[in-house]
């Protein structure tokens, strides 16, 4: 049952840059064909995804090495990272909620809650 996940892993190795995203699409397609989630895969996904943030820790530690480069443009970088990111999330969420909610999807959203 873990084969589907394993297969996704090995496909990542053969594909160029957005390999992980391609593997996601492949696995999703696979699940659509299966029409259900194998129990072991579901358990694996729940466990791995609950640790999702862990996989970014080494990259975060790597940021320290670029401190001299960051310092050169610090005000602009801070404005872009903090202002830009918060603005983007707020704007995207508002637009999605306002524009993306014709009446017939309202019910679907409420069912999903």
């Amino acid at each position: 049952m873990l084969l589907a996940a394993a297969e996704a892993i090995c496909r990542i190795g053969h594909l160029p840059i957005p390999g992980a995203v391609v593997a996601l699409v492949l696995l999703y397609g696979n699940l659509l064909l299966l029409r259900r989630i194998p129990e072991a895969l579901g358990a694996l996904a729940d466990r791995v995804l609950s640790l999702f943030g862990l996989f970014f820790v080494p990259a975060g530690v790597g940021v320290v090495a670029y401190w001299p480069l960051l310092r050169a443009d610090l005000p602009g970088i801070l404005a872009a990272l903090v202002g830009g990111t918060i603005t983007t999330i707020a704007v995207t969420a508002v637009v999605a909620e306002r524009l993306g909610r014709p009446k017939h999807t309202q019910e679907a959203a409420d069912v999903g809650r």
Binding site: A8, A20, I37, L49, F55, A93, V94
Partner: protein, 240 residues
């Protein structure tokens, strides 16, 4: 600490298994710490674990290079973990099908907004051109951002740094910002988190609810692929 203790500690700190074990332990500790403080988003587990690891490396004098070699397994696991996002996506298939207009609206707003707000803000504060180009793809997932950065003449290492910091900012402040502007729909919040702050934002969304997590993974993937295609094309149009 005696000299002998220190030698022992250094030899342990150089062992890959210790780097990996310590990182996992510190991350679990960071999650416990966050729970202890009522789930405060300011104590984002990824960020807190990074600070713990940096403090540990500085205190023991261990090298960053040997640490990165020791924990190489974790970045490797990121690919399979992203692929596993297919599971929450599949569980939410009906809801995603019913949310087409919302997904299109979120991408149309979020993709250009992520790039323009970053480049615009950095430009206003007089950042160098190299910084401007490198910061443009900051909202998409690392692997794609690095490829895009290379394609448009940025510095990939700098881009990777911006991507990580963007993720942390979004994970910490994103949900509060969305609440502040009155957003209640978990699908809209998830899409915005994934589009604005990729995987680290998705990690936060997964902790909010499965719906937020699934839509965040969806937003991250679509935004990543579209940015990879559109940003280099837009740059070519601007600077033929």
């Amino acid at each position: 600490m005696s000299a002998a203790d220190r030698t022992l500690w250094l030899s342990l700190a150089d062992a890959p298994a210790v780097d990996l074990g310590a990182t996992v332990l510190l991350y679990v500790l960071a999650i416990k710490l966050q729970r202890r403080f009522g789930g405060s988003p300011v104590l984002n587990p990824t960020m807190v674990a990074v600070l713990f690891v940096v403090a540990g490396l500085e205190l023991t004098g261990a090298s960053y290079e040997s640490y990165q070699r020791g924990v190489a397994f974790l970045p490797f696991m990121l690919g399979p973990a992203v692929a596993l996002l297919a599971v929450p996506l599949f569980r939410q298939t009906a809801l995603i099908r019913a949310s087409g207009p919302m997904i299109i609206a979120a991408l149309s707003a979020g993709l250009p907004c992520g790039i323009l707000s970053a480049v615009g803000a950095a430009w206003l504060f007089g950042a160098h051109r190299e910084t401007l180009v490198s910061i443009a793809p900051k909202s998409v997932t690392t692997g794609i951002a690095i490829g895009v950065s290379q394609a448009v003449g940025g510095v990939p290492a700098l881009t990777a740094t911006f991507v990580i910091l963007t993720g942390i900012v979004g994970a910490v402040g994103g949900p509060a910002a969305a609440r502040l502007v009155g957003v209640r729909d978990e699908r809209a919040l998830g899409l915005a988190m994934g589009i604005g702050s990729h995987g680290i934002g998705t990690a936060r969304a997964l902790r909010i609810s499965e719906i937020a997590g699934a839509f965040s993974g969806l937003g991250m993937s679509l935004n990543g692929v579209l940015t990879a295609v559109l940003l280099p094309a837009a740059m070519t149009l601007l600077h033929p």
